[in-house]
Subunit: 200 residues, 2 copies
C-alpha cells in the first residue's frame, strides 16, 4: 500500500513476518509503537538486540542459555540420569511448569519432517546419542509434540535407542493428539508425564 | 516464570506489552526471534528504532509523516476544501483503501472517553478548529469509529461546528456498529462514505 511512508511500511513488513501476526495486527502494532514514548518502543528494540547478543544455546542440551550451560544443566540438584527429549526450548518451559520433572533435557531443535527436508541430520540427534554414550543416562523420555512429525521423531528415536541399556518412554496420551505441546495445560501435560509407558 | 534467563524473559515481557499479543504468543514470537539468523531479528529491532527516529506527525493533519507534512497533505492534487476527521492514522489508511475520497484528513489522536480522562483537550480538536478558521474548508466529514466513543466524539464535533459556514457530515451507517473502523471491508466503508448525511 502506497499510503505508508518508508519507515512505517518497513516496520509493518517486519512485524508481519512474526508468527501469528497478520497484516492487520502488524499495522495495529506498528501504530501502537509509533504512538509510544520513544523510550518504551526502544526497550522492545533493545530487548531483541540484547536477547540475540546474550542468549545462546546450552552446549549440553541446546536449551536457551546465557552462559555455557542452561540454568537446568547448571543446576546440580537436577537428576542427571534422565533426559527428556523435546523439540523446542518452549517445550522445556511447558514441561517445567508441570513441576513433575526433575531430570534434564535435550532440545532437538524441531521434529522430523521429510517434506521440509528435516531429517535426523538436521536435528540434534547425534548430540543426544553422544550424551547417552558419555553421561550416565538410565532413562530417556520422548516428549516431542503429539502430532505427526513429533510422533515420527519419537518413533525414530525409540528405534535407534532400542538396544541400549536404558528405559525409553513416550509421554502418555492425555495430551490432545494433533495439537501443539506448548498449548497443553499444566495438568494434562503432568498426567502425560506421570503415565509414560515404555516403548516396546 | 523462573525458567527463562534474563534477556529471554525481558524479550517475552516487552513483546507481551504489544496490543493483541498474549503471554503464549509473546513466548512463541520470542523463541522465533531467537532462532532467526541475527541479521533477520536485527532488522525488526532496526525497523522499530528507524520508525521512531524518522516518523513524526504531519504538522497540518497529524497523520504519520516523514517530513513536515504527510504524503496526503503534501499532495497538491488532493481537494483541500474537505476534511475527513478520523481517530488514528490507521483510519486514514482504511479510508484511503476505499479509493472513494480525494480530500484531506485530520487525525484526532483518539476519541473522547471520560472514563479514561480523554476529553476535547486531549485530542487535536483545537488544531481542527484552527484549520477550519485558516484553510478554505467547505465540508467536514466525521469519520470516527462507529462505537460509543467515536459517536460521542462525532456528536461533540457536530455541535461545535454547527454554526460555521460549512457542511458537516457523518459517515453513513453501513459500517457495522460496535466495531472498529479499521476492520471494515473496503466496500462497506466505501458505501458509508458515499452515503454520508448532513448532521442537523
Amino acid at each position: 500500500m502506497a499510503v505508508y511512508t518508508g519507515p512505517v511500511q518497513d516496520l509493518v513488513d517486519e512485524l508481519g513476518k512474526l508468527p501469528g501476526i497478520g497484516p492487520k495486527s502488524a499495522q495495529r502494532i506498528a501504530f501502537h509503537l509509533l504512538k509510544l514514548p520513544r523510550d518504551d518502543a526502544q526497550r522492545l528494540a533493545s530487548a531483541i538486540t540484547e536477547a540475540k547478543a546474550r542468549v545462546s544455546w546450552c552446549e549440553r542440551c541446546f536449551n536457551v542459555a546465557s552462559s555455557t550451560y542452561c540454568d537446568i544443566c547448571a543446576d546440580e540438584r537436577r537428576d542427571g540420569s534422565v533426559i527428556c527429549v523435546v523439540e523446542e526450548p518452549r517445550d522445556v518451559v511447558a514441561v517445567e511448569k508441570t513441576h513433575e520433572y526433575r531430570g534434564r533435557y535435550h532440545v532437538l531443535g524441531g521434529a522430523m519432517n521429510p517434506l521440509e527436508g528435516i531429517g535426523a541430520d538436521q536435528l540434534r540427534m547425534k548430540e543426544l546419542f553422544a550424551r547417552i554414550g558419555s553421561e550416565e543416562i538410565t532413562e530417556v523420555i520422548l516428549c516431542t509434540n503429539p502430532n505427526v512429525e513429533g510422533e515420527a521423531t519419537a518413533m525414530y528415536l525409540a528405534r535407534m535407542l532400542k538396544d541400549m541399556p536404558l528405559t525409553v518412554s513416550r509421554i502418555a496420551s492425555g495430551v490432545p493428539v494433533g495439537g501443539d505441546l506448548e498449548y497443553a495445560d499444566e495438568l494434562t501435560l503432568g498426567r502425560a508425564l506421570e503415565g509414560r509407558r515404555a516403548v516396546d
